[in-house]
């Protein structure tokens, strides 16, 4: 009898302890703001998703005792995304960052169901009361890369490896070319579409082919380090994409056009903490620190000085990559003198500037 009684006491005690611990952890997490990230790729891609995750880690570092961060990686665009976002909302995330273009509709849909949760969608264009959008002006970096390429190239030809013909990518090619033409009006670019964001093998094939065709500088709008490695191997030059790839090509990388989301994420999470978060559309560039060119290497001081000046001018707003008038490939002219094309024009860009020989896939 006594034994049984003791047993019961133990169980009660254990239950009480469990409840107590549960309460404790519940109160601890209630005090912390939950910020959550949804990634399309693996955090180990060393490129796009990796950079977003660096941003998340920066939030953790800066606001460590006030926030708790969570992330889901490798989430396919589509129904999976919707489920994942909804799970975040149910689990008590106060702010959810969905970091791929294809998460757009899923984000909007879940946001309607959870009006008290704030959502931020990267690279999209649909907003709502609790859905903000954000993106970076990567083309600013590409303009400077164009200038550098035109100065450094001996053959006057750059190879350009690209993924898909979306405005973001087309904008990058045009900006690169405008930068290059500002230095050498006859500069040429050879473009290869690999129809993938991420296929190291194919990207390296494309680089080898382009170098074989006379290009001596490699530009990429795909995510792997393979093209730069080929440049290094063949004693040619190139630019890194998304993150600093200097380790893979210490003798070949001129600079890398890197995404830097940390500052923005910290700022947005702080706004939630302060209760001042509002839906908005942020399209930040070098001036906001969202686009950062990694250190200029493998070039003479004069070229470096030119590049640094261009970066300063873009930050100051005195150098506009898409300042009119711009002649399109078909000969028509757009833009007003001294004024940049509007954000709307940029975001729907489906034409090449004059001087590009490729035919844009429509």
């Amino acid at each position: 009898m006594e034994k049984e009684f003791k047993m019961k006491k133990w169980i009660v005690a254990a239950a009480a302890l469990a409840v107590g611990v549960g309460l404790l952890t519940a109160s601890a997490s209630a005090a912390k703001l939950k910020a959550c990230w949804l990634y399309v790729g693996p955090v180990g891609d060393g490129g796009y998703t990796y950079q977003h995750d660096l941003g998340r880690k920066e939030v953790e570092k800066e606001l460590g005792d006030k926030v708790e961060t969570k992330y889901l990686e490798n989430v396919a665009e589509g129904p999976d995304a919707e489920r994942a976002i909804e799970r975040f909302a149910r689990e008590g995330c106060k702010i959810v960052f969905t970091t791929s273009f294809g998460f757009m509709d899923a984000t909007i849909k879940v946001a309607k169901k959870y009006p008290k949760v704030f959502f931020e969608h990267a690279t999209g264009y649909k907003q709502a009361k609790n859905v903000a959008t954000y993106n970076a002006r990567f083309y600013e970096g590409r303009y400077v890369m164009g200038e550098i390429a035109a100065k450094m190239s001996k053959t006057g030809v750059a190879g350009y490896i690209v993924s898909f013909p979306i405005p973001e990518v087309v904008m990058g090619i045009n900006s690169f070319m405008l930068g290059a033409q500002s230095v050498n009006p006859n500069f040429k670019v050879k473009i290869v579409w690999v129809n993938s964001w991420y296929d190291p093998g194919k990207e390296s094939d494309a680089a080898k082919v382009l170098f074989g065709q006379g290009a001596d500088i490699m530009v990429q709008h795909t995510d792997s380090t393979a093209p730069l490695q080929i440049a290094q191997e063949q004693g040619k030059l190139g630019f890194g994409q998304s993150s600093d790839m200097i380790k893979f090509a210490p003798k070949a990388q001129l600079t890398a056009n890197t995404d830097s989301w940390g500052g923005y994420y910290v700022q947005e999470v702080k706004k939630v903490l302060a209760g001042t978060w509002k839906s908005q559309d942020t399209w930040g560039g070098m001036a906001q620190g969202m686009v950062v060119l990694s250190p200029f290497t493998n070039m003479p001081d004069a070229v470096k000085a030119m590049a640094e000046k261009s970066v300063a001018d873009i930050k100051a707003g005195t150098l506009l990559p898409f300042a009119g008038p711009i002649t399109k490939q078909d000969g028509t002219v757009v833009g007003e003198k001294g004024k940049s094309l509007s954000d709307k024009d940029l975001n729907s860009m489906n034409w090449y500037v004059k001087g590009i020989d490729d035919k844009l896939p429509q």
């Binding site: 060393g46 290869v192 993938s196 190291p200 382009l210 074989g212 792997s224 191997e233 490729d358 035919k359």
Partner: protein
């Protein structure tokens, strides 16, 4: 590497692009000849890639090659145990093996992301490698290029010219008869599956140590599936697998090269062309239906439980 002309650089690129396909496909060919369908090639490649890469960082790429093979063999033995000893469904287990391999490789490789790897050197034979054109093509590749071709020839020889090959094919064509004749169906299949795993692991290692010396998740990018398809469309003949792999490599590289010529061919079409051309070509050379049927392992994918 010195500057090559356009055509030569294209040829060299084709060889590198075709080699991993050939390695993976020739292994799977032996597996399927023994009557087992292992759809886990992609997963075994991924694990081979990461294990090879990690080992190469410490001991250099030549040791890395063996680590890649070992990793592929280990994973394939898991498949063999499940499908041959426990008689689980081969298709489902193979698919699971792909998922498992991709997942595990990501886990093992966390620390390797963003690290430049050790590259397998190209061989250099004085005088011979310096011959213009022929030198770089025939005497200036990495060892695995030659190995893949030698392996293809060896597999062809063993399968069709030796008793061992006869036993493997008998097991794949009619496991009951082979069993009745006293051949160990299960041990033969274990060995073939392990061989295929080793080849797939090696193909993965080729990606992470020779093709693009780096490790990133999902770097196999579907090459395992292409290898699987090649085996079927080549009607399980080693020579045709080699033709298919090189044809696939050739058309994909030419597709890239053609883009800069301003012909206005949609790049999406060029991207799908390797698949179309390879399938059409292999279907045409397999025009002889009777021959194709004769070469299809009759027991492919069927479980074998010896009656007692």
């Amino acid at each position: 590497m010195q500057d090559h002309g356009e055509l030569l650089s294209i040829i060299l690129t084709i060889i590198t692009a075709s080699t991993p396909l050939l390695l993976a496909a020739i292994g799977e060919l032996v597996v399927e000849r023994s009557g087992v369908l292992n759809l886990g090639v992609e997963g075994m490649m991924a694990v081979g890639a990461v294990c090879g890469f990690g080992t190469a960082l410490i001991f250099g790429p030549y040791v890395g090659i063996f680590a890649a093979i070992a990793a592929g063999v280990l994973l394939s033995l898991l498949f063999a145990f499940l499908t041959l000893s426990l008689v689980s469904n081969q298709v489902a287990t193979g698919l699971a093996l792909t998922l498992l391999g991709l997942g595990i490789s990501g886990l093992i490789g966390v620390g390797y992301v963003g690290q430049p790897g050790a590259k397998l050197a190209h061989i250099y034979i004085p005088l011979l490698s310096d011959i213009p054109w022929l030198g770089p093509i025939f005497f200036g590749q990495d060892v695995l290029v030659y190995f893949s071709l030698a392996l293809t020839a060896a597999v062809g020889y063993v399968l069709f010219r030796t008793k061992l090959g006869l036993v493997i094919r008998a097991v794949g064509d009619s496991h009951q008869s082979a069993h009745a004749l006293g051949y160990g169906v299960i041990p033969v299949r274990y060995a073939c599956v392990a061989f295929g795993g080793g080849c797939a692991g090696l193909a993965g290692g080729y990606l992470s140590m020779a093709y693009t010396p780096q490790w990133v998740e999902n770097m196999t990018a579907g090459r395992g599936w292409i290898a699987l398809a090649l085996v079927v469309f080549a009607s399980w003949l080693p020579k045709r697998v080699a033709i298919g792999a090189y044809l696939f490599g050739m058309v994909s590289i030419l597709g890239l090269a053609v883009q800069t010529k301003g012909l206005g061919i949609p790049s999406q079409l060029l991207t799908s062309l390797p698949y179309i051309v390879t399938i059409v070509a292999l279907v045409i050379i397999s025009g002889n239906r009777a021959l194709t049927r004769a070469n299809t392992p009759a027991c492919l994918g069927q479980p074998f439980v010896p009656d007692r």
